[in-house]
């Protein structure tokens, strides 16, 4: 109950305010009206804007053709065009009396200016000023509204109204930033010296964006010569200094080193930073001490830039300074930059130290020596991991080249244990083209060889490619082995026309050499300059080889050199095999190791002696004489003779019978029998050819048919008549048979025409002297009264074509001159000539 009472009491205290209903209704109506007003205003303005847009578009469409007319009007155009232009101008002037139209026209021109370039753009500027729209822009400059003033400045700068420059410059220090910025750009763009004026006069901040825009304006100017921007490094406006520094960097004006160094100490970090960039880019090394001085008091950013500059400008002298930075500097980035700078100045000056493990950790544990590793023949060609590791270490191996297959030569002892090099391939070198063989090919004394080496190892053979490449074998004689020597000499005589030589290394003092000398009584000592020509030499090869101890056990290879390649000689059948033993004088013992052969001395020409073993049947002198005979000797002529020979060759190729007199004259003069013979041959050849005369004598037969013949074949009567007339005018004697055939034709009309043409042609030919007077055949009708009716007899053509002059040794045919009788002048000339001849 009590609770209820309390609740009731509280409820009594909370009571609804007494608001008059009328007031509420009024309030509601107000807000509804407000909403309506808002909606209506939105619609109104929206419609207004769209209507304005439409109007604008309509106006623009009106102006487009007019402007086009204006832009492409030519002073030297047609009169109609000029009248049209004047009418248009008047019309536009009336239109732009309306401010709205003027605005539209200005907007159109501004748009057009953006879209076109070149001459058309210049025309746009001209039209703008011609229609005095710039004056409207001037008015805008006086407006109290900043946007209008700004718009006016923009118009004038866009339309490049130069006269507005002085008006716009006033706004450079306008307190309204929009106008000021617009004025700055206009000042710089309208005048070449605008940037100077701007930098001199501006007192306000030049924002980064504004600097970029100004730079864009400046760099797009044509024929712009930038002023020395160092002049503004002393400006009291820090923004001007900063902008000047950027312009200096952009235009690479590196003539302001002192000012730049001074600016390194500028309080403003932006200027300092820009100065550092300039110093770095222009490589101002004088600035290094200043950079080092200012370093400690700079901010971290500037320190980074200084270090960057030092990396380019610094020298070894600056290393200590950089090391100081590394030790003293707290900032992590600066420290890192200092180290990188150090490494740039002195590459690899500072090595990585972070997280680098001490080298003591890399000392390897005692490993099992390789010698202790049991040798496994099967694995020696496979490189195990252990072997790979061992390959990384330097092994003091002085293994010498083993020429293991050369019989009897001494091999050097190895300084290393066999097991130490068991993993290595034994390298053998190809000496003098002798292919060294592997163990399997080691002949005969294998045991001796094994014991000598003391190496119970399997090895692979590696041919030294480089040695083979560097070694030239051309100087060496061809070497033959026993196989060849055992062959039958007689067989070789015909089958193997190859010159074989064997190389022997010997000592002069060696007794074995004496043996060779004894067995070669007819040894042929030939100097290298002489050429040995194989001849009828029969070799006692086997004996010689047996006597001469051949130390180079050369495996025989089938000789692939053809005889023609090896020796130039004509008598192959007489040639047997020449077995030349090349004895190389060498101070070393012939039993020495092959590797000890001094090949450089061996190839010396002085030390080479060719010994040739020849058959006793032939004496050396005779052999040499024969060889010499076989050598083709060069045949040299004196100049005169050579010229004559050349001339005769030319005559032989190009000459004809006309050269005979000249050849006869030469024959008389010439003393040399060979030349004489050739001249006589030529004369004979040309005389023969002269006998074959070419006869171009025209025949009446089809051999020389008229060109009209084919035309007549395909022509009708009318065409034939026309052709007959043509023949009479232009025909030649070869047309006469054709005309004759028509005279005998059945068609009377054609017959008459043919007769006339024939008469005319013959007359013409007579006048021109081309043919003898001919008896013109008469028609049957005409001859009835004159002769008997024997038509056949009547039309027997009793004429003969005048043959062309035929002379001995001359070509009978005389080509007809094109002018001959074809023109009136020619005919007259011919007539006069005939008359003259008659007289």
């Amino acid at each position: 109950m009590i609770f209820i009472q309390k609740t009731y009491t509280l409820n009594v205290l909370i009571s609804a305010p007494k608001i008059p209903t009328d007031f509420l209704w009024a309030l509601s109506l107000f807000f509804v009206a407000l909403a309506l007003m808002y909606v209506v205003s939105v619609f109104f303005f929206r419609n207004r804007i769209s209507r304005l847009g439409k109007l604008l578009l309509a106006k623009r469409k009106v102006f487009y053709p007019m402007i086009c007319e204006f832009l492409f009007f030519k002073e030297d155009g047609e009169k109609k065009e000029k009248i049209n232009y004047i009418d248009l101008k008047i019309h536009i002037r009336e239109l732009i009396k309306n401010p709205f139209d003027k605005e539209v026209l200005t907007a159109v021109l501004l748009d057009l200016k953006k879209d076109v370039t070149g001459k058309t753009r210049t025309e746009v500027f001209r039209v703008y000023q011609d229609l005095e729209l710039h004056k409207d822009a001037y008015k805008k400059l006086n407006s109290w509204r900043w946007e209008v003033v700004s718009k006016g400045i923009f118009e004038l700068s866009q339309m490049e109204v130069q006269d507005s420059y002085s008006l716009i410059t006033k706004f450079i220090n306008d307190k309204r930033s929009t106008i000021r910025k617009q004025a700055e750009i206009a000042t710089v763009s309208l005048n070449k010296d605008g940037i100077n004026y701007f930098l001199d006069h501006t007192r306000y901040k030049i924002s980064e964006w504004q600097q970029l825009k100004l730079l864009d304006v400046v760099r797009n100017k044509t024929d712009y010569v930038p002023p020395p921007f160092r002049l503004w490094l002393t400006s009291k406006n820090n923004h001007v200094v900063l902008f000047a520094l950027r312009l200096i960097k952009y235009y690479n004006q590196n003539d302001a080193s002192a000012s730049l160094i001074q600016l390194l100490r500028h309080k403003d970090n932006h200027i300092k930073k820009e100065a550092i960039f300039c110093v770095r880019d222009f490589n101002v090394t004088n600035a290094v001490p200043v950079l080092k001085t200012i370093f400690w008091k700079c901010t971290t950013d500037v320190k980074m830039f200084i270090l960057e500059a030092l990396s380019q400008l610094g020298t070894d002298d600056d290393i200590s300074f950089l090391e100081d930075i590394v030790t003293k500097e707290v900032a992590f980035t600066v420290k890192g930059k200092a180290i990188s700078t150090l490494n740039k100045i002195h590459p690899e000056g500072v090595l990585p130290i972070q997280d680098i493990v001490s080298t003591a950790d890399y000392i390897p544990d005692k490993q099992t020596p390789e010698a202790a590793i049991p040798y496994n023949k099967e694995n020696d060609l496979h490189i195990t991991k252990q072997e790979e590791q061992s390959n990384l270490k330097e092994i003091p191996v002085s293994a010498e080249i083993l020429s293991n297959n050369v019989k009897g030569h001494t091999l050097n002892s190895l300084d290393i244990e066999p097991t130490e090099i068991s993993f290595l391939p034994i390298v053998t070198e190809e000496v003098a083209g002798i292919a060294l063989k592997s163990k399997e090919e080691v002949p005969k004394d294998e045991n001796e060889y094994q014991s000598f080496l003391g190496l119970n190892v399997n090895f692979e053979e590696v041919y030294s490619v480089s040695a083979a490449e560097e070694f030239h074998f051309e100087f060496l004689p061809i070497v033959a082995g026993e196989f060849l020597l055992n062959g039958e000499a007689t067989q070789l005589r015909n089958e193997l026309p190859v010159c074989f030589e064997e190389v022997i290394v010997f000592d002069k003092k060696n007794t074995e050499q004496k043996k060779i000398e004894q067995c070669l009584p007819n040894e042929l000592l030939v100097t290298p300059e002489k050429v040995i020509i194989p001849s009828d030499l029969v070799l006692e090869t086997k004996k010689a080889v047996n006597d001469a101890e051949v130390r180079l056990n050369v495996p025989f290879k089938e000789p692939k050199i053809s005889f023609s390649d090896a020796i130039a000689t004509e008598d192959v059948s007489h040639i047997a095999v020449i077995y030349d033993v090349l004895t190389i004088e060498n101070d070393t013992n012939p039993k020495d190791n092959m590797s000890e052969i001094d090949w450089t001395t061996a190839v010396q020409i002085e030390n080479i002696v060719y010994q040739q073993e020849a058959s006793t049947e032939y004496k050396r002198e005779n052999v040499m004489k024969k060889k010499e005979l076989n050598i083709p000797k060069p045949l040299f002529y004196d100049d005169a003779k050579l010229n004559t020979i050349v001339l005769l060759e030319a005559i032989a190729q190009l000459g004809d019978h006309r050269e005979i007199p000249y050849l006869k004259m030469l024959l008389k003069q010439e003393a040399n029998a060979m030349v004489k013979t050739s001249i006589e041959g030529l004369i004979a050849a040309f005389s023969i050819s002269d006998d074959i005369s070419i006869s171009f004598e025209p025949t009446i037969s089809s051999e020389r048919q008229s060109v009209f013949h084919s035309l007549f074949e395909v022509s009708d009567t009318e065409a034939k008549i026309i052709l007959l007339d043509e023949i009479a005018e232009v025909g030649d004697e070869q047309e006469i048979p054709l005309l004759e055939s028509f005279v005998l034709a059945e068609d009377v009309h054609l017959k008459k025409r043919a007769k006339k043409a024939l008469e005319k042609l013959i007359t013409r030919l007579m006048i021109t002297g081309k043919t003898a007077p001919l008896e013109v055949p008469t028609l049957a009708e005409e001859t009835d009264t004159m002769f008997s009716p024997d038509i056949d007899n009547l039309f027997t053509v009793d004429f003969e074509l005048t043959p062309t002059i035929k002379k001995n040794n001359t070509i009978a045919y005389q080509p007809r001159d094109n002018m001959d009788g074809n023109t009136l002048f020619d005919r007259l000339c011919a007539m006069s000539t005939n008359l003259y001849n008659r007289e």
Binding site: R60, K61, Y64, P65, I67, C68, E69, L71, F72, V108, D111, L112, K114, D115, V116, T117, G118, K119, T120, R121
Partner: protein
């Protein structure tokens, strides 16, 4: 197809009317269309001697136009592209697709005239 008929496709009416005027003055018959749809409609019944088209057009870009002409219509009609400065990538792809020439904005009408004349000469050759 008239040898002097040019289809000018550009949504910029001012520039189009200017070029139209200049080309007509030079003796060409110019048909101007404002967007890609109109271009397609026009090409469905007429093939001009030369097409001069802006790259950026509503509905149907210049690149698509080239593709349409070359691959669908299989026509080798010379196409000259008008592009804005800094739109080199589009120009490159346009030429790859088969555009014969291009001219960048701001346009010099005289230059365009020369280029058109060159293409006309090529047709004659």
């Amino acid at each position: 197809m008239n040898e002097r008929t040019i289809l000018l496709a550009d949504d910029d009416q001012l520039l189009a009317s200017l070029l139209n005027f200049r080309l007509e003055k030079a003796g060409y018959i110019v048909d101007h269309v404002l967007d890609g749809k109109e271009v397609k409609e026009y090409l469905s019944h007429t093939m001009p001697a030369i097409i001069v088209s802006d790259i950026m057009m509503p509905y149907f870009s210049g690149i698509e136009l080239i593709n349409y002409v070359r691959k669908e219509l299989l026509s080798q009609t010379p196409i000259i592209i008008i592009s804005s400065t800094g739109n080199e990538e589009n120009v490159l792809s346009a030429i790859e697709l088969g555009a014969n020439d291009f001219i960048s904005k701001p346009v010099s009408p005289s230059e365009l005239l020369v280029r058109i004349a060159r293409e006309v000469n090529k047709i004659h050759i």
